[in-house]
């Protein structure tokens, strides 16, 4: 697989206190790669700078140190190759659903003719099952429908990379579940490269190929990379029956509860190569017997 995103030595510090000689970085020495077609999740507690990392990837924030390479070229600012799905959906309230999506489509293809814009908008609307709601304003939509428009807007510009900033965290549990299923379907259908931020462990297990675990800030780092080898297609209703599900989930939860504290010795000695683990891959024979009995 081709390396698409390469984050190298990223750090961010906010000089908020006047006279502070050297501000403590929120995160530092953040190194990771995302390959073409891969779905990578970043999990960490609040305040470790997850959103900042995503914003740096999106090009709407700058890092204090380090670089981001996309296709081996350093990024400078935002690009239509990288679409962002915002946590707060960020729809323009004076536009209808189709106008919001058309705004993105026209940005991507400024010379597109009117019927082509309409065709692309309709395809995006149909993709997220919002057919019939094209003329509605965001204020007339439920939270889940708004986020569907956000997803449609991002996918309509056919980005190489999709960046998602806790896209489902503001939704109620039932809506979140169905949107997660759809995200899983859309991403596997289109082989979309995705970098997603979340603090929902089950969401990460459902969607991600690899899960980056971030230690707590300040001085947060990627502490560990968890490979999620659960077979695809994955579904919420039966994923937890898989024998490797609980080892994986327990490993992440245990990290978040116990090992994410800023204790220096849990952090990797070489931040360029955080330890890669595959929880549940070493199957104890007795356990597999247990599954057969069930």
């Amino acid at each position: 697989m081709k390396r698409l995103i390469s984050v190298q030595g990223l750090a961010k510090s906010f000089a908020h206190r006047r006279g502070a000689t050297d501000p403590i970085p929120v995160f530092e020495h953040v190194w990771f790669n995302v390959h073409e077609g891969e779905f990578v999740c970043l999990i960490g507690h609040s305040g470790c700078g997850k959103t900042t990392i995503l914003n740096v990837l999106a090009g709407i924030e700058t890092a204090s140190a380090g670089v981001v390479l996309i296709d081996e070229r350093e990024i400078a600012g935002p690009s239509l190759d990288r679409a962002v799905i915002f946590q707060s959906h960020a729809l323009l309230p004076w536009f209808s659903v189709e106008q919001n999506i058309a705004f993105a489509v026209r940005s991507r293809w400024p010379k597109a003719r009117r019927d082509e814009v309409r065709r692309r908008v309709q395809r995006a609307v149909d993709l997220v099952h919002l057919t019939g709601a094209e003329k509605k304003r965001p204020s007339e939509l439920s939270g889940g429908m708004k986020q569907r428009v956000g997803i449609a807007r991002a996918l309509a510009i056919e980005p190489r990379i999709l960046l998602m900033d806790e896209p489902f965290s503001a939704l109620d549990a039932l809506t979140r579940g169905s949107l997660q299923d759809e995200a899983a379907r859309l991403c596997s259908e289109t082989n979309q490269t995705v970098f997603m931020i979340t603090h929902d462990v089950d969401e990460a297990i459902l969607l991600a190929d690899r899960i980056l675990l971030m230690s707590n800030g300040p001085r947060a780092q990627i502490a560990e990379i968890v490979v999620n080898s659960l077979p695809r297609p994955r579904h919420r209703y039966d994923l937890h029956r898989h024998i490797r599900y609980y080892p994986l989930r327990n490993h992440i939860i245990e990290f978040l509860i116990e090992r994410s504290q800023p204790v220096r010795d849990v952090l990797p000695a070489d931040p360029r190569h955080p330890p890669v683990v595959c929880p549940g891959d070493i199957v104890i024979p007795a356990l597999s017997n247990l599954e057969i009995v069930q």
Binding site: G59, P93, W94, A104
Partner: protein, 280 residues
């Protein structure tokens, strides 16, 4: 107790209050005392105020008759000092609109600049803070001297009083456009002009319309004073002229019409504000 919809009851109460007010007015201006015994020649000179004990303040009926008289023929023009009240109002409205439109042309783009650039905000803030509290009429002598035209000077005074609310509201509206909407435009690589017209302008439009509403209100307040000062034409001049004629009926008619036109201007912009408002 009257029942029924709130609006109807409120309207009834308004009518009742109005009737009470007119009744008090009527009784307060009733002629008092009888015939004063005086030489008929002298009585003729003194007028009914002295001879009948009649109040100089017109009665509601006098004012009603004056209003009907003005509204029956609002647009006559019989020389510089004898113009219909409609013509005078049209002069004033015209000046307010010209001054207001000039203020929009200057204030909105400048407000955009201040709202979008923290540098410009800081650089221009001292000027705005000093110029804003100046009474627009204080500019009148300077305007008369440099423009050398009284009609244009009153338009300038309207411009100068209307521009500040527009400038400040536009700058505030532009500066407080939600970060996430700007981020959307940013990640979509939207150019400056398109960002201004498709994102910032619609987002700030309700605040800008509020600024316009304040501006037009202030302008309508100031035009009366400006025209009193400058003279010639306009409703302000009409009020001062009728004061010199000691025709309080005409003054009261003008006051009521000033209120009605001010309300109409305000409602027009309130309607405009509803057009550009959006629900989040």
């Amino acid at each position: 107790m009257p029942t029924g919809p709130l609006a109807l009851r409120a309207a009834l109460l308004s009518l009742l209050l109005f009737a009470v007010f007119v009744a008090i007015w009527h009784f307060a201006t009733l002629p008092m005392g009888g015939w004063a015994a005086m030489d008929p020649e002298y009585a003729k000179l003194m007028g009914p105020g002295a001879t009948h004990g009649k109040s100089a303040m017109p009665t509601p009926l006098d004012v009603g008759a004056a209003i009907v008289g003005h509204l029956e023929d609002p647009f006559f023009d019989r020389g510089p000092n004898t113009k219909g009240i409609g013509i005078q109002l049209a002069y004033s409205i015209g000046r307010v609109l010209i001054g207001f439109i000039l203020a929009v042309i200057v204030g909105v783009p400048l407000g955009f600049l201040i709202g979008m650039s923290p540098l410009m905000h800081r650089a221009l803030d001292p000027f705005v803070q000093v110029l804003k509290p100046i009474s627009p009429l204080a500019w009148m002598p300077l305007a008369l001297y440099s423009i050398k035209d009284s009609a244009l000077s009153s338009i300038f005074v309207i411009f100068i009083c209307a521009v500040w609310p527009l400038l400040i509201n536009t700058a505030f509206g532009v500066a407080s456009v939600r970060r996430e909407w700007l981020n959307v435009a940013h990640t979509l690589e939207v150019g400056l002009l398109r960002r201004c017209f498709a994102v910032i302008l619609p987002a700030a439009a309700p605040t800008i319309l509020t600024g316009m509403r304040i501006s037009v209100g202030v302008a309508w307040l100031v035009i009366v004073a400006a025209e009193m000062l400058v003279g010639g034409t306009g409703i302000g001049y009409f009020v001062w002229n009728e004061w010199n004629n000691l025709s309080l009926s005409n003054v009261i008619t003008a006051i009521l019409l000033i209120g009605a036109v001010g309300m109409a201007l305000d409602q027009a912009l309130a309607w405009g504000g509803r057009l550009v408002s959006y629900a989040e």
